[in-house]
Assembly symmetry: C2
């Protein structure tokens, strides 16, 4: 039953990429590795601790410990979604583009984190639908999906947890966004922040100074935005905001 | 002993941010929430499954399940590092900047992933030192740290796993980088790819078509690079590579 959740062990060595990527000649036979079995060590309502049996790239049997969410829906490729919500006024495209961030106390971190809006996918729900629903619940804003990723690994050495990144366009001129209201569960305490996209990295650093811990994927997004806007000429200068 | 690893439950509500961030008036008292205890459900050599007791923002006692690495060093703020290695020839700054990616079979994902080079921090080691050591071991390249983040949460709803992002400048003209050679453990099979930074998102999409699963933090970096370079005018167009 555990193995059902694992993706197919397809031939994933990307030999076709040698045109664009250097060092492809070093093929350690990645695609021959595969999971062969698993045993449960412990489980709670939400998480399961499992030891996997696998064969490495040379066919040698090995073991690997992992944590799994128990909540992924049958046939679903991802556990949840992370949402990059871009806010702009359609009527005033020259105005600065903003994005939505959420802050909340996260018991596993023992700290308040700063994250992209995110949430688990309901049964039968598409990532796009989950993203629009979660965005409305967590932040009060309504938008339309502009772009959705495939399966992304949250921490591939530790867990099979996977998300899709959904980019959502939010039109601030829409009547639905005039007075955004959260619709949280009674166990949720989520603070919403609107920040200019161009100021993401300095904003995260300001929040860090206040004790907030950024989500890795949000921080790397900020680094990408900063490097991309700088033209890559001088990374140290671009990142020393 | 488990609680020792949790960061201090400092007053993290960032009231000071109201100047730059909207919606600060919605303060659900995030900083009052705190972890009060924990009990171990199961453990292996590498991972521990724990149920936390915590008090929410209104002081109500609740429970939260989490997974922890058992390997974090006493006093260490992070478990590991992720490395953004920027490759350029100091003597030819007009040439395209490249970066290093690693592909490997990840048993928890049951698939070959594409990630930033990464690894666990050794006892007493700084994130910068760990990054330079891991980069050399995993990819063969030698560089110098240009920038290091604070603590970043890998999957804050699931685990306390935290990393630092280290940006490393690699000078391709350095004699040490003439013939880069990996120094892997006998259980590691890691393929190194050099890709132009500007082509990161289309490269990831090409790898996905071949069955590779990107690490979330790498994918959001790619989205940031693409949006940052586009000036944010039209996200759909910028991301439809």
């Amino acid at each position: 039953m555990v193995l059902r959740r694992l993706p197919a062990f397809a031939a994933t060595a990307a030999g076709a990429l040698c045109g664009t990527i250097a060092m492809c000649e070093q093929d350690p036979g990645l695609s021959r590795a595969r999971v062969t079995g698993s045993s449960e060590v412990g489980a709670t309502r939400w998480l399961r601790l499992t030891t996997l049996d696998y064969e490495d790239a040379r066919g040698k049997p090995r073991k690997w410990d992992m944590a799994q969410r128990t909540t992924r829906k049958e046939g679903a490729e991802v556990d949840g979604v992370a949402i990059l919500a871009l806010l702009r006024r359609r009527a005033a495209p020259q105005e600065e583009v903003e994005m939505l961030l959420v802050r909340q106390f996260r018991p596993p971190m023992g700290a308040v984190t700063i994250e992209l809006p995110a949430g688990l996918v309901d049964p039968g729900e598409s990532p796009e639908a989950a993203a629009l629903r979660e965005l409305k619940e967590e932040t009060g804003y309504t938008g339309s999906s502009a772009c959705v990723s495939g399966q992304l690994a949250m921490s591939p050495g530790l867990t099979d947890e996977a998300v899709a990144l959904v980019v959502v366009e939010v039109d601030l001129d829409s009547p639905a966004n005039r007075v955004p209201e959260q619709a949280l569960d009674e166990s949720e305490f989520i603070r919403v922040n609107r920040v200019p996209v161009k100021a993401l990295l300095p904003t995260l650093r300001e929040l860090e100074r206040d004790g907030c811990v950024p989500f890795t994927g949000l921080y790397t997004l900020a680094v990408g935005l900063q490097l991309g806007a700088s033209g890559l000429a001088d990374a140290s200068a671009a990142l020393s905001t």
